[in-house]
């Protein structure tokens, strides 16, 4: 049942938006094509803006792998990652996600490249990164803009939300994709 609902969402959401948004825009008399071109140009800029973070993270992870340090860390953390049901390569996603969105994207991309996008590790890394936010960055921007320096429960709530997102990602990926 749950699988059927989630599969339907994965299958239908993007096609429905691809057809629905331009149709809605036509009805609202929006100039669809110029608007699309204008937005698409930003997509190009976004991809270019990701390059520096991707270079930094890919190079660091490649050095850790080539030196043997990554294998040693994976062996040392083996009991922990096995208990959590997380492949060792995915663990850094959870550790870095609340701190840096760019670095987390780089780690996900590296997992997708080395383990494969359709592997359990690749799918889990994708769901983890997609279902959480860069908590520390969001708090710094929002609280800072209002001149608030005492965050009260906001930090705890944000980090608990990340934790819940990761736990749910592991549970739903194990249910749907095995592993």
């Amino acid at each position: 049942m749950l699988r059927a609902v989630l599969d339907a969402l994965s299958t239908w959401t993007i096609p429905v938006l691809l057809a629905g948004i331009p149709l809605l825009a036509l009805l609202r008399r929006v100039k669809v094509y110029p608007a699309f071109l204008d937005g698409a140009r930003q997509g190009f800029e976004t991809a270019v803006r990701i390059i520096p973070a991707l270079v930094a993270v890919f190079v660091l992870l490649a050095m850790l792998r080539a030196s043997g340090a990554m294998d040693a860390a994976a062996r040392a953390l083996g009991p922990l990652t096995r208990a959590l049901g997380v492949p060792p390569s995915v663990l850094p996603v959870a550790l870095v996600r609340p701190l840096s969105g760019g670095a987390a994207q780089g780690i996900v991309a590296d997992v997708l490249r080395t383990d494969g996008p359709d592997s359990f590790a690749g799918r889990l890394a994708s769901v983890m990164a997609g279902s959480t936010e860069t908590t520390f960055y969001v708090l710094a921007v929002y609280m800072g803009a209002a001149g608030v320096s005492r965050y009260r429960q906001a930090l705890a709530a944000g980090l608990l939300a990340d934790l819940a997102g990761f736990a749910a990602a592991i549970a739903v990926c194990r249910l749907l994709f095995g592993g």
Binding site: A40, I51, L54, V59, A62, V148, S149, Q153, A164
Partner: protein
């Protein structure tokens, strides 16, 4: 991040030097830099398509449509904010833009909402429950389509880049529920009054 990068890079070099793998490390580092740039170029197509579509959605008034649907629910999450206060309007637009994944559009609304809420704050400088709730909503992911992750998967050659959409939505929902509930319940553990 800078400290982490520097320490881990030094660690990798030290381990490689100790095990005689420095040439492999150098080759791997240079190869990875090239791979990173090539990978990023693989993102251009999907991100351009998606952001183009989102701009069309924005101009068609989809953010406002979502805002109308979300407003009654959001008002219940912010009991201390009057319905007709400008903060409420900014909160609703902030969350609605985030649902569509319009981060660039969501942030200015969020910043304005935080500033309007600060005007209602009896203890300026200490977050109100409403400010904590808005931040909690923004530190959880409410977006419908995780477009960047899907682009990364497409660039990596996935057979089904979008197959993680449903599972991601479910995991996001768990995160949002925990964010809202903990922002609500933990307020009492972090009393504003005691803050000087």
């Amino acid at each position: 991040m800078g400290v982490i990068l520097a320490v881990l890079s030094a660690l990798a070099v030290a381990v490689a030097a100790a095990s005689g793998r420095l040439p492999e490390l150098t080759a791997a580092a240079l190869d990875a830099a090239g791979k990173a740039a090539a990978f990023s170029l693989g993102l251009v197509g999907v991100l351009a398509l998606w952001m183009g579509l989102l701009r069309v959605a924005e101009e068609a008034g989809l953010v406002r449509a979502i805002a109308r649907l979300a407003a009654p629910l959001l008002r219940r999450l912010f009991p201390g904010v009057p319905d007709d206060h400008p903060a409420m309007g900014a909160i609703v637009m902030n969350v609605s833009a985030n649902v569509l994944g319009l981060g660039n559009a969501a942030t200015p609304f969020g910043v304005r909402a935080m500033q309007e809420l600060e005007a209602l704050n009896p203890l300026p400088g200490t977050a109100t429950d409403a400010q904590a709730m808005l931040c909690a909503l923004n530190t959880a992911s409410v977006q419908l389509v995780p477009a960047t992750v899907i682009a990364l998967r497409a660039a990596a050659g996935s057979r089904a880049p979008a197959e993680i959409l449903g599972p991601t939505l479910l995991a996001s929902l768990c995160g949002v529920v925990v964010a809202v509930v903990s922002a609500h319940l933990l307020g009492r553990l972090f009393p504003a009054a005691r803050a000087g």
